[in-house]
């Protein structure tokens, strides 16, 4: 029997396109409910496995697809939340200090960094979805505005405007926090 080209097979599947389009939104959603990365990642996987098994979404529009994914994610996150509440486990990120003597991996540093990240994620969720996607592509994948524009089928100028607005919004949120505290 000829071996399957797994990655090729998967990359061309509708569920892969669905994943590439919406996974970051679902990850962001479930991260609001679940503290540890492992739990959130598991829930994202479960959501797209559900999509794999029930492909009714193939005929739906973009909004309907996202709404359905969010509904499934919401239910699965609640399940996971309850599992975690019953059986709290050590998040791997909190165990990082066991692996290194480096100061940046001490429990205190990790805890502070996790809190910073949680704050930043909360601020990011206040941006529009388009801005979030541009920030993700700019900082997560290191793409410049021109490359992002090509990917999103829009002009370089639009991306620059949206990106600069997003960053200025984030600055304002941080400075308001500083002023409040």
């Amino acid at each position: 029997m000829r071996p399957l080209d797994v990655q090729g097979f998967f990359d061309e599947s509708p569920v892969a396109l669905l994943y590439d389009r919406y996974a970051h939104i679902i990850l962001h959603d479930v991260s609001r409910y679940l503290v540890t990365h492992q739990d959130a990642d598991d829930v994202v996987l479960e959501v797209f496995l559900a999509a794999l098994e029930n492909q009714a979404w193939l005929t739906w529009g973009e909004d309907e697809r996202l709404a359905w994914l969010r509904r499934v994610a919401h239910n699965k996150a609640i399940d996971a939340y309850r599992r975690v509440a019953r059986h709290p486990v050590l998040p791997l990120e909190n165990a990082a200090h066991l692996l290194s003597e480096d100061d940046s991996a001490t429990p205190e540093y990790t805890a502070i960094r996790n809190e910073e990240h949680a704050v930043l994620r909360a601020h990011l969720s206040a941006l529009t979805e388009k801005q979030q996607e541009i920030v993700r592509l700019r900082f997560g994948y290191g793409l410049r505005s021109k490359e992002i524009a090509q990917r999103l089928n829009t002009s370089d100028n639009v991306i620059r405007v949206l990106l600069s607005r997003a960053l200025n919004s984030l600055r304002r949120m941080y400075s308001q926090e500083g002023g409040d505290s």
Binding site: V6, G140, S145, R171, R172
Partner: protein
Amino acid sequence: MNSDHDIFSPETVDEQIEHLARIQNVPNSVSSDAQLVHALQRVTREDAQRLARIRQRLAARTMVGQQETQQLPIAGNHYPHVTPPPNMRQPRRRVHRLTLVLSGLAAALLLVVMVAVFLQLKLHFNATPVRPVPKIQVTPTATMSTVAAPAGFYTSLGQSVFRLDQKSGHILWQYSIANAQGSQFPLKVAGDAVYVMGTTDVYALDAAKGTLRWSHSFGQPQPIDQGSRQIQSIAFDGGFVYVLLKTQVVALHAPDGKVVHTYQARVHTPLSEMAVAGNVLYVTGVFDLEAISVVNGQELWYKAVAAPQNDLLLNLQATPSFVTLRVAHQLRDAQGRPTGGTGTILAFDVQTGTRLWQSQTVSNEAYYFTAAMDAIYYGTSKNGVLHAYNVKTGKELWQRDIGALIGGEPQVDGTIICIRVNARANTDYPAAGIVALERATGAIAWYYPGTIQQMRQGTQIYDEPTIQQGIIYVNVSQNAFSRSEIYAITLRGKVLWHSDINVNVNGNG
């Protein structure tokens, strides 16, 4: 709109980002903008890596499904596909068409019969005066088990259940649940049995010998719920084991595991929590709470207590005096995006469902609470004050600053309350010790380890302490999956013994 805060301009935003990203070691005084850029890089790259890993896992799961499909005979991998000769194709098509026609006729006939039966039944019921119909035929007889469980500590680790000697901590028996899904099974010790909640099955073990008495399977979850529990929780009351499923509660006869009754709740499914006290079964749905008599299956009362979209009902607890739960409310901005959450504890009268008490609403912190007798003991995750409040009289009994942040639900036994605490300032950091208080006055009875300072320097504690038969058991293991390091402590704070349990990756010792 530009302001003093707008330093990023569309013309130079790429260059500005790259400039700020080059600044290393960014203390507060150097550049908050550089910090922002570095934090954005860390968070988004972390997310990108996580998404890539999840994608690989998804691809691997897709491959498993594909290989399974390939192995099916219908895929033609095992049986060579034979094209029928042209003269054979026409008769087969005719037979196929004939089969379709006959199937259609049979289905239509069946439909006509069903409609006729339905109409006849409807006429019959319309002619009968309406009166309440008892929901159940089999009545669970509430019988209190008089047999006490043999002394010991009952716990689970991996896929095994253990009984440890109460005096020495030695393992008296171990029962491995073969082929069970999941691990770290919740269990209830009642009478002379240990009831273990698996993902899809309930097991009853002989508490003295550790042998299986019975098991009851509730089947596999639907594909859409893959990865979810089929069984949400179990409870024991009056000789019955109550099993909460997604749409109903099943009562099993404790001695033999036979189904005594199935309770269909009015609350909106999926059911989320269950509690049983004083022959009353309480269930929560998506946003509502219902009380059902376990004796006759009749609904006693029903309350819509939250909003369907943004609320979760959690930590349902019942005493013979009142029933209580926490409403976790998600806040959203104008665009509907989640921005945080609030929490409120509510308590209701068991007879009428009338609201007896409501706690203050807190934002972005967790409420921890436990109901016992007439009182509720509660505190929040960002506040080290534990409160005791008598719900029946409406009076606060006491409040106590315990010197550390509350990290878990209070555990109540007789005269003592013990609670897991976080001795460090950062609430994201796991809890680091146990504090015991006198139940009557709230006075601090003891700390484990001995002082708050020792807690700060010592081992974190990730599991809730468990109180069984007047002994507090604290698991200090850093590895929740394959190792338990248990300390047995008396209600007066004396450490009796320390015992390690290890299982391999499959959950067997």
